[in-house]
């Protein structure tokens, strides 16, 4: 589904250009769940931003192929229409735009891009009800402005609600677990598990093993200084929980990708 090859990206800062992604290789197939872990500042969110087309990053090398399309050539909205979704680490508040209006516009633009008719209001309301229940979002929140006045946890839940509504092929969850209480974490994870099919895939960025107890990954990758320095199965996460990152970062020669 997704192939990332030797992806390098830099940003322009006040002190000059700074390379953040230093050659990422990753392959994600339909039906898989990949976890990406790694210390603060290692480039996890940057990878998510580059994959979704946020401005400000310059890709200097490498390529990203998503279902045979060169993803880096597409606009952010077209990537979303192709089926890529990012649950943001820090969702923004948008005063004046209601969740309903926002989602209705999004769904209908995605449908339009596929040559489909707009969704009827009845179907839309049905879908909202169903998906709100799935992720345990208070339906009251849906009529409110996007994320305005939402608690940290509510914002995260709202991201997963949007994911459920848009039904993407590839979902990137950037630290969705941070800010969620234990019960919320379980509901959200259950929601994700229910959304899982053999045709979609998830990249789960997290610092904690806890989330991976619920959303069990097929692969775990460690990102360090803009590169994936280690990959393994779910046991790698357990090992990291116990030993931290030192054992990897101190001995970079031990890297196997």
């Amino acid at each position: 589904m997704l192939t990332i090859k030797n992806l390098k990206a830099k940003i322009a800062t006040e002190e000059g250009e700074k390379e953040i992604l230093k050659g990422i290789d990753l392959k994600v197939n339909a039906g898989e769940i990949h976890a990406i872990m790694g210390p603060n500042g290692s480039g996890k969110s940057t990878l998510a931003s580059v994959l979704t087309g946020r401005e400000g990053y310059e890709v200097t090398e490498g390529e990203v192929i998503f279902e045979k399309k060169n993803l880096l050539d597409e606009s952010p909205e077209d990537r979303a229409r192709l089926g890529i979704f990012l649950a943001f680490q820090y969702p923004v508040e948008i005063p004046g735009v209601s969740n309903t209006n926002f989602l209705k516009t999004a769904i209908n633009e995605i449908r339009k891009s596929k040559g489909e008719e707009p969704m009827s209001s009845v179907d839309f309301l049905k879908l909202i009800k169903e998906k709100a229940k799935l992720v345990g979002l208070d339906p009251q929140m849906i009529s409110r402005y996007v994320n305005v006045g939402f608690s940290g946890g509510e914002k995260k839940r709202n991201e997963i609600f949007q994911l459920a509504m848009l039904n993407p092929k590839l979902s990137i969850l950037d630290e969705t677990d941070s800010g969620l209480d234990i019960d919320a974490l379980r509901t959200v994870a259950d929601g994700v598990n229910k959304l899982r099919t053999k045709d979609n895939a998830f990249i789960v960025i997290t610092h904690y093993q806890r989330l991976l107890d619920y959303i069990v990954p097929d692969f775990v990758h460690v990102m360090y200084d803009g590169k994936i320095v280690k990959s393994g199965d779910k046991d790698l996460a357990l090992h990291l929980e116990e030993h931290g990152y030192d054992w990897i970062t101190n001995d970079k020669n031990a890297v196997t990708v």
């Binding site: 990537r79 979303a80 948008i94 516009t105 891009s113």
Partner: protein
Amino acid sequence: MNNEETEKTDLKAKLLNNFRDFEKNLNGDAAGIIHEKRKDAIKYFETLGFPVKKLEEWKYTNLTPALKHTFKNPLEEYTSALSENDIKDFLIKKENVNLLVFVNGQFERKLSKICSKNDNVFIGSFSDGMKTHRDIIESHFSKYVNYTNSGLTALNTAFAGEGCFVYAGKGEQISEPVHILCISDAREEVYFSQLRNLIVAEDNSSVNIAEDYYTIGDKHSFTNTVTEIFCEKNSGVEHYKIQNEGPNAYYTGTTQVHQEKDSRYSDTTISWGGAIIRNDLNSVFEGTNTECHFYGLYLLSGKQHVDNHTFADHKSPNCYSNELYKGILDDNSTGVFNGKIMVRPDAQKTNAYQSNNNILISDDSTIYSKPQLEIFADDVKCSHGATSGQLNEDEMFYLQSRGIGRENARTLLLYAYASDVIDSIKFGELKEMIEIKLEKKLKKGD
């Protein structure tokens, strides 16, 4: 091209001539308080003339392009040829509305419809009001607005004679809104219209008024209005001014509000049509515990120029004023916002808030925003803020990342940005009409 000064003088000289003709045709009306004021005002117009950029209050607004044209005075020879069909798109979709139609400043009786009528209420034209409510008009006319320091107000006062007159007697809550449709008929000729409105809300009364400006045809037009609003004790006036004029329309106008104890006044001014627009909105708090809201939205494109000058004059203690003006500027458009708050020495316990926000969509658009706070009392709460910037890119990206294209994302965000001004419109059917137009206008531009 001719010399600007000559042209200006031409229009002024023409207007001074017009005044003599106007006087001759007044007949019985030439005797009385109102005509005394007219005669006095024309002298001021003769001295002051049209405002020039040298004046501090006109620093950013240049009327010269408007003064170049050889405008006709509708008083000379004018009969409107507009039919109901011509104005049907301008009507507010509500059954019980008092509709007053003015075409080039002249009252169109056959297109108008008045539904609120009783001994204690008058809604109609200024000239009709003079027949039945002369005493009331004379006791308020030109009492609040000052023509000795404004050439445009002097000009309007000199030609005062037509416009709308609304009278809500003591205790009258007029539930049917007043829709004043002011149309510039610019299909054949270029006209310079003067419109003079007077709103009198007596003790404990209330009324809602929407001034709505449109142009038909694409010749030039110039409308200069003065609206005086008298809010007696504990009265409430909701006022809307919607400027939908065409790309060759010039507009200048002053709204002067006089607020007595416990009164409430609220104005929402929406400006999105017209070549040059200058609005002056002044409210003087003559009594304690009054409340005043000024809301404004200007959505500009092309070479449009809109100048909003507002003035909340806190003369009495315990009054509240709140102001929110928002601008969206595209292409080569220019916005001017000058918000003055004066807290006079007696006005203790004043609460006065003001904010002006601007989104500059294009690099070539310009905003001049100036708060002007003059505070002479010590126990006051005042705040003001002005911002100008671009659309928030994080918000844009969030919407795009959900599949919403840049165009639609922009429309959603700008619509949301304007919504707190739109929400100040309590007249539901008018609000709906504005919402539909706003969305259309946002979608069209890019």
